[in-house]
């Protein structure tokens, strides 16, 4: 009995001491980051906590089911204090529409953020008439990477920045070659993936779109002649011109496309800034020569690309609103963006930081991103709550046209009706 009493007393005293001395405030930051990015983010976070004694920051890097985990943590009342959101897979739109984020517009003076320093195309992704719901982190316009060595071997001159779809198609055909005459190609012009986020800018370039201006209707837009022109152009690359190795259905990149690009088997790949860190080492070592161009424009129309951006947001039910908004602003500050740009997964959202990075780029690749950004548009994921549901319908268009050889208009009309039903069924499941 004495032993029990001693144990209980000890436990009570120990817990009382622990409670009395624990005066730390722990802030949680949730984001998706690879190992290299994690180290940089940790350095940025350390700078914040060093300036504020008693503040501890836990960085949670989530690689799978990010949106689901964030949603459940907010709904369960245990949200992170700062969370990274984007206008793609981890779309901010449903969070903003449901008032799950703090409107930081009211605190811009408090945290010393000057919104005019950011690219307005990026800021608009997180802006609504009622305010601003995230501090922009960085962004990615879709551009085209060219393997200069393959162009030279095929005696194809590099196109200029004002190139058109016809140029793209002509070059892709010339780069697709069977050099040893065994009946199988050794190199291809380009690569077509069925993921919609990559073919969205082609649809815009032709003057089409997936949804109407309000983002609530697909019929009349997805099956418009302009949209179908873009779909026909891309699917023809696969079925008519045969300038692509295969249509890629894979979700996880195996790194193959990078290897084929680096070894000169694919001449042109359209992708985002996230490609640069993966190929930079080879460029620096002189093993590959790369040029970057904005996407080609449709004849007679202005060039256009899509912008995918990420921003630091504060869940509405954080228990440390003031600190969290300060931390989000710190993560988006010019210094933090400069540190992040060392790795270069994306473009800094502060114009001056991007300008200084571009000026210091010895290969001149960043200039193409600067140029592309001028024609950038935000994706539908920025504003349409149901975008995740809508987006998964779109690869079916490619599949049905390429594999089933169905007429494009029939397919787009069918998918447009399906999307309309999804948009009309808001809150009915």
């Amino acid at each position: 009995m004495t032993a029990w009493r001693t144990l209980v007393t000890f436990t009570l005293v120990a817990s009382a001491c622990a409670e009395g001395t624990d005066e730390r405030t722990v802030l949680r930051v949730m984001a998706w980051a690879g190992p290299d990015e994690r180290a940089i983010e940790q350095r940025i976070l350390d700078r914040f906590s060093e300036a504020r004694p008693g503040i501890e920051i836990e960085f949670e890097s989530i690689s799978a089911n990010y949106r689901e985990r964030l949603l459940t943590s907010i709904v369960a009342g245990t949200p992170p204090d700062v969370a990274l959101l984007d206008n793609g897979s981890f779309g901010a739109a449903p969070f903003i529409a449901r008032d799950l984020l703090v409107n930081v517009a009211a605190y811009l003076d408090r945290v010393g953020v000057d919104t005019s320093a950011y690219y307005s195309e990026v800021l608009d992704i997180f802006r609504r008439p009622a305010g601003l719901y995230a501090f922009p982190k960085d962004f990615n316009p879709i551009v085209v990477y060219l393997n200069v060595g393959l162009f030279e071997r095929a005696s194809v001159p590099l196109p200029d920045w004002d190139w058109t779809w016809q140029d793209f198609e002509r070059i892709a055909v010339r780069l697709t070659r069977d050099t040893d005459g065994d009946g199988r190609n050794e190199s291809w012009g380009t690569l077509v993936r069925r993921n919609f986020y990559l073919w969205q800018p082609w649809v815009w370039a032709a003057g089409g779109d997936v949804l109407g201006p309000e983002g609530r209707q697909a019929t009349g837009y997805l099956n418009s002649p302009e949209t179908e022109t873009a779909i026909r152009f891309l699917t023809d690359l696969v079925t008519e011109h045969r300038v692509v190795p295969s249509v890629d259905v894979r979700r996880q990149s195996t790194g193959l496309e990078r290897n084929f690009f680096l070894t000169g088997r694919i001449g042109m790949i359209w992708s985002g800034h996230w490609w640069l860190p993966r190929i930079r080492r080879y460029i620096e070592e002189g093993r590959v020569r790369v040029a970057v161009l904005p996407l080609p424009r449709y004849d007679g129309r202005d060039p256009v690309t899509v912008i995918y951006a990420a921003g630091w947001a504060v869940p509405h039910n954080t228990r440390h609103k003031k600190l969290a908004v300060e931390l989000a602003a710190h993560l988006s500050s010019a210094q933090s963006q400069r540190e992040r740009a060392e790795y270069g997964l994306a473009i800094p959202s502060i114009r001056a930081v991007h300008d200084s990075i571009a000026a210091a780029d010895p290969y001149g690749l960043e200039q193409a991103f600067l140029q592309a950004t001028r024609h950038g548009r935000m994706s539908w994921g920025s504003t349409v709550e149901e975008w995740a549901h809508v987006e998964v319908q779109l690869p079916d268009i490619f599949d049905r046209v390429i594999f089933e050889d169905e007429p494009i208009h029939r397919v787009t009309t069918d998918i447009a009706e399906r999307i309309d039903r999804i948009l009309a069924a808001r809150g009915t499941r």
Binding site: V75, R110, R251, K321, K322, F403, R429
Partner: protein
């Protein structure tokens, strides 16, 4: 029977006593938690009321800034100063008064100045010369007016008269305006020190005092607190209600008892009569106790909801012409989720809400159903058109304790039945003790099974009848809607078909695994290594395997097409074509599962006595005949086990699809579990996904049952 008498006493008295204690505990805890919740609700209402006061005073000051001098008397302005853009004083009142102590340079002053420069009028709460005041920054032509206005003490007394709570205003920890008592010392250190980061009300002590942080003009820094203390006229909860019982719970509990009783009557052999009596007696008191606890808890929760809504209505009565306020602001002030004006000709933005106003005529408060969701309402009709305040009732949210109570009751019924069966079957005390020991050791697993398998299963069943979106507060009951929608959902049936086709890997794998097991069931050099090699895929990460196989399946550069090309075959599109994608996944599944099934078959093969083979060989049976006549029949239990577990596993395939194809191309690899995942987590349709889960569960259950019925009998040892 005499030996079992103490056990009888234990059987009857202990559960009844435990449930009585538990039920009473739930209700006492309920009451202890609900009253502070009511007080915290009062603190939140007080905070909203003070903020409303602040905004009203600001509006009056803005209206008066054009001619400050003539407006001073009615507005009770303590002092003011007008500055030009260069910071020079243009006008000051009183003329000889010192300049306002604005603490220039502080973040708060700077933020207010910045706001005023943007032509945004702001007001804050300060103490100046020991007196509480509103401090307003007002943009004027060519400058900024800074006005300090006294806080009217009647603000606090009116709140007390209306709600029964005294209200005190604190600037930091110093009382700025309050009644007789200073609560400063009662503000807990943690509350004051972390005011800036707290956005919730706290109870201060057991004397029904609660506080909420008062933030500055832009809700950034906490500058003080509002503290409320209940007086005799404050709403309170009744003492423990004795009479109410939950009819539904009572009916459910007695159904269990009745079913048990009928079963025992029909099969008198199961238990001896005294045990039968004990079984029924042991279940009645807990049922009564639980029914009382459920009823009392619901009544207390309902009373708290009503009292909180009533508090909100009383606070609204302090606001002049409540009907003229925007309904969103009325809801904020009253602490309701939604407010809707109830009047002829007024069209609510949500037609369902408009219809709800028609259903509440008569009673000023009660419950109403809107879009399938049950809501508590309170009608406010002091002035102007009647206003309806709506909020989810607490009694619907507080079901956790009762959920556990119901679970425990079920577990108790099962435990008593099992115990009684053993008592009947046990011929002596030793066997009974052994059975007890066995169940004691099994109970942790049983608890885990109940908590992590049975409970989620039941919850998913509940979800399947509701429209349940993670982020939507309304989760209405929709009956069989999801199941009916599923019937016409072509993509779901496509996924079901794909799953069924995918499960064909099971027989294919079994044939291969059995062949490999027979080959490796002999004493040859390196057999252990070969077995390990076959087993390796099964213990390797499925995600890693999927990524490697993606590369091997690549139509242009993959290993398979290269190998096939050597013999003049292919190239095949593998994962890139709807015609071959599912087949590619089946091949992968066969490769992975061969090792696992081989190990099971090996165990089965090694259990077959060697003498049987020797006798058969003496009788002249060849290898083929020995396989058909000895190996295969004696492997039946093993084969049955492998078949049942593999079929269940095949219906739950997810990882390969998730990593490799995302259900494509053209939904050719869309399987049920991936479809469930997409609906639940990508589209957030939890109710719909739960309905699919239950269909899947029913299918697996039916198939397993069929396997046991048609194959299990042949497997049973004769």
């Amino acid at each position: 029977m005499n030996r079992l008498r103490p056990a009888f006493v234990l059987l009857v008295a202990a559960p009844a006593l435990a449930f009585a204690v538990l039920s009473t505990g739930i209700v006492i805890q309920s009451r202890a938690a609900l009253e502070p919740e009511l007080d915290q609700s009062a603190a939140r209402r007080a905070l909203e009321y003070v903020r409303w006061e602040r905004s009203q005073r600001l509006a009056e000051l803005r209206a008066a800034t054009g001619s400050l001098g003539s407006q001073i008397a009615p507005l009770d302005i303590a002092r003011y100063a007008v500055y030009d853009r260069a910071g020079r004083t243009i006008e000051r009142f009183p003329g000889d008064a010192p300049l306002l102590s604005l603490e220039p340079g502080t973040p708060q002053t700077e933020a207010m100045l910045a706001a005023a420069r943007r032509s945004q009028a702001v007001v804050d709460f300060v103490t100046f010369d020991g007196a509480p005041a509103w401090l307003a920054y007002l943009p004027r032509d060519g400058g900024i007016a800074v006005v300090q206005r006294r806080v009217d003490p009647s603000t606090l007394t009116r709140f007390e008269t209306a709600t029964g709570y005294t209200l005190a205003l604190y600037h930091g920890r110093r009382r700025a305006l309050a009644g007789d008592e200073d609560f400063g010392a009662r503000l807990p250190g943690t509350f004051v020190d972390s005011l800036a980061s707290l956005d919730r009300a706290l109870s201060l002590d057991a004397d029904r005092r609660a506080a909420a942080p008062l933030k500055d003009f832009d809700d950034w820094d906490a500058i003080g607190a509002v503290v409320v203390a209940a007086t005799a006229s404050a709403p309170a909860l009744p003492p423990l209600p004795l009479l109410p019982v939950s009819a539904i719970w009572l009916a459910a509990a007695f159904t269990v008892v009745a079913l048990g009783w009928v079963t025992l009557r029909r099969h008198p052999g199961i238990l001896a009569t005294p045990l039968r009596r004990a079984f029924v007696i042991a279940l009645i008191p807990p049922a009564l106790a639980a029914a009382w606890a459920a009823g009392a808890d619901a009544r207390l929760s309902a009373r708290t909801t009503d009292a909180a809504l009533d508090l909100g209505a009383r606070v609204l009565s302090l606001v002049p012409r409540p009907g003229q306020l925007p309904v969103e602001r009325s809801a904020e002030l009253a602490g309701a989720d939604v407010a809707v004006v109830r009047a002829q000709g007024v069209v609510a933005s949500d037609p369902e809400l408009g219809a709800a106003t028609d259903r509440v005529r008569g009673d000023p408060m009660g419950r109403v159903r809107v879009s399938g969701q049950r809501l508590a309402y309170r009608v406010v009709s002091e002035e102007g058109p009647p206003l309806l305040l709506l909020t989810p009732p607490l009694e619907d949210a507080r079901k956790t304790a009762l959920f556990w109570l119901a679970g425990l009751y079920g577990a108790l019924a099962a435990a008593i039945l099992v115990y009684a069966s053993h008592a009947r079957a046990a011929g002596n005390a030793i066997e009974l003790r052994e059975a007890r020991t066995a169940w004691t050791f099994l109970s942790p697993s049983l608890v885990l099974l109940l908590v992590f398998s049975a409970a989620p299963l039941l919850f998913a069943f509940y979800l399947s009848f509701h429209r349940w979106n993670l982020v939507e507060p309304a989760k209405p009951f929709v009956g069989f809607e999801h199941y009916l929608t599923l019937a016409g959902d072509g993509l779901f049936w496509n996924a079901a078909k794909n799953t069924a086709v995918y499960s064909l890997y099971v027989p294919a794998t079994m044939v291969c695994a059995l062949a490999v097991a027979i080959l490796l069931n002999r004493r040859i050099r390196g057999v252990a290594l070969l077995r390990a090699i076959f087993f390796l895929p099964y213990i390797t990460s499925f995600v890693a395997i999927s990524i490697v196989w993606q590369w091997m399946y690549d139509p242009d550069f993959g290993l398979f097409n290269w190998l096939l090309g050597l013999v003049g075959l292919g190239p095949f599109p593998w994962l890139n074509s709807p015609a071959t994608a599912l087949l590619a996944l089946i091949v992968l599944a066969v490769w992975i599962h061969i090792g696992f099934q081989m190990i099971i078959f090996l165990a089965g093969l090694q259990a077959i006595p060697n003498e049987l083979y020797e006798a058969a060989m003496i009788d002249g049976a060849g290898p083929w005949r020995r396989f058909w006549r000895i190996t295969l029949p004696l492997l039946r239990p093993t084969t049955f086990f492998v078949l049942v577990t593999s079929i269940i596993g095949s219906f739950q395939v997810f990882t390969f699809v998730y990593v490799m194809t995302e259900g494509g191309p053209l939904h050719a690899t869309d399987v049920i579990v991936y479809h469930i995942y997409q609906n639940a987590w990508q589209f957030l349709r939890m109710g719909y996904a739960s309905a699919m889960s239950w269909i899947l569960f029913a299918v697996i259950f039916a198939i397993t049952l069929a396997q046991f019925r048609f194959l299990g009998r042949r497997v049973a040892p004769s």
